[in-house]
């Protein structure tokens, strides 16, 4: 692992010299390409107050990525957006946590497929470390798809619902 880190460091330094724009982003891009080549599932990289942790979501078994791993899921969401009609908007998770469809196990779900939502309708709760985050629809529309089941882990930037705007 330390040998790999050294390689990354060298590359990062080179990349930084090339582009003065956003050095951190360049490092992330580099790390991702290294992960691709080596087929790595997880990588951690630390240097002078910068910490980058990346983990592929496949086979992660619900393991949450570290806080700064936002780059990968966001990129995914963007590629999905291209194939989608503009009246369909996803509701995405603002944080790593557990996805709950109802306020308690006995209660009815906040939202169902086919149900209409208003911008301030609560559609689910995402919980992390006992922080209950009520997620609102933020659009007028109808739920067309729910990507997750109650109690499933959710990652930062992951799509939870698909809403057809009305």
């Amino acid at each position: 692992m330390t040998a790999k880190k050294k390689v990354i460091k060298k590359r990062a330094v080179k990349a930084e010299k090339k582009k003065a724009g956003n050095p951190d982003l360049v490092v992330v891009e580099d790390i991702i390409s290294i992960m691709d080549k080596a087929g790595l599932v997880e990588i951690e990289y630390e240097r002078k107050g910068l910490f980058i942790g990346l983990r592929r979501s496949e086979g992660g078994g619900g393991v949450a990525p570290v806080a700064s791993a936002s780059v990968v899921p966001v990129a995914k969401a963007e590629s999905a957006k291209q194939e989608r009609p503009s009246n369909l908007v996803p509701i995405i998770s603002p944080m790593v946590g557990t996805f709950y469809r109802a306020p308690s196990p006995e209660a009815a779900p906040f939202a169902e497929v086919g149900g209409e939502v208003k911008p301030d309708s609560v559609v689910c709760i995402v919980e992390a470390m006992k922080l209950m985050n009520e997620i609102k629809a933020e659009v007028n529309g109808r739920i067309v798809k729910i990507f997750l089941e109650n109690g499933q882990p959710v990652e930062y930037g992951q799509e939870m619902f698909l809403v057809e705007k009305i």
């Binding site: 470390m129 006992k130 209950m132 985050n133």
Partner: protein, 348 residues
Amino acid sequence: MQKAAGEKILELLAAQAGAYVSGQALAQRFKVSRTFIWKQLAKLRDAGYKISSARKKGYCLLRPVDPLLPRLITEHLRTRKLGRKIVCYPLVTSTMDVAAELIAKGEREGTVVAAESQLRGRGRQGREWSSAHGMGLWLSVILEPRVSPLLASRLTLTAASAMAEAVEAVCDVSPQVKWPNDLYLDGRKLAGVLTEMSGEMDIVRHLVLGMGINVNSKAAEFPSTLRNQATSIYMVTGRHTDRRVLLAAFLRYFERYYSRLKKGDLQGMLAGWRQREMTLGRKVVVKRPRQELKGVAVNLGEDGALIVRRRDGVEERVYCGDVIIDGERQTPNVKRRMSNVESRKHGR
């Protein structure tokens, strides 16, 4: 004195520290009729206050001796912002609901909602939280952290840590913390934290921090389902604690950590936390809705995650789920609970 009449009478009774005040004295003091006083006292009794009346002596507040009234709490406050406005209720469904309503009406950061009693105090995922009248602190704090939701989830840890310090300072006992939000004393649950917020992608505008701590409760006041899992400061120390002093201390410690957290600084809090964390170094089972994780809790991450080392040596960062210390009872049936009480007795 129409609306706040009850509160003013209560304040006066509380100031007598167990002595009687005559109905006539009360009437004169507030320039109202004795009938009016009598009606107000009846309302207070309905709200759960135990007020005794004796012929020729008058009235006396028996329980709680430390009613939560804004003026009496403010006396002890040493904060800049938190708790500078306090709203107190004898009875609410849940202080979390009241706080959410206040936010909808434009309430700003720092306001504290406290109640003597809750009809439906709640824990995570709608679990029951017992809140007997006047025996604990059931409160919600309105916050506007303006940090990313990623940082906000650490608030729960911060609040639990601050309460542990407050209990240590005021009551001279040291609660342990159980990741992520419970306080334990002598192996039983003393307090819990719950944070609720409305989701926004980038920044948390409003957040309600809920805290429940059993202060002066006696064993018999817990519902039988909780009796052997819960404790109070009184049950451990045998001493009565002024809840208003404890509340003020909590707000002071919490405010200090909170202002650091807003700047992203968690170090001080984490150091204190690690000292008190009861799961560290122990075998744990993390119960999650869809899968279980078994291993040893080895550390707390910089981001507040519990780091659990599995048997195969892989370390997982845990953000969600119920942590059960191996060997701890989970949902014991009545028989097992009884036997547990017996073994405790023999053990001491």
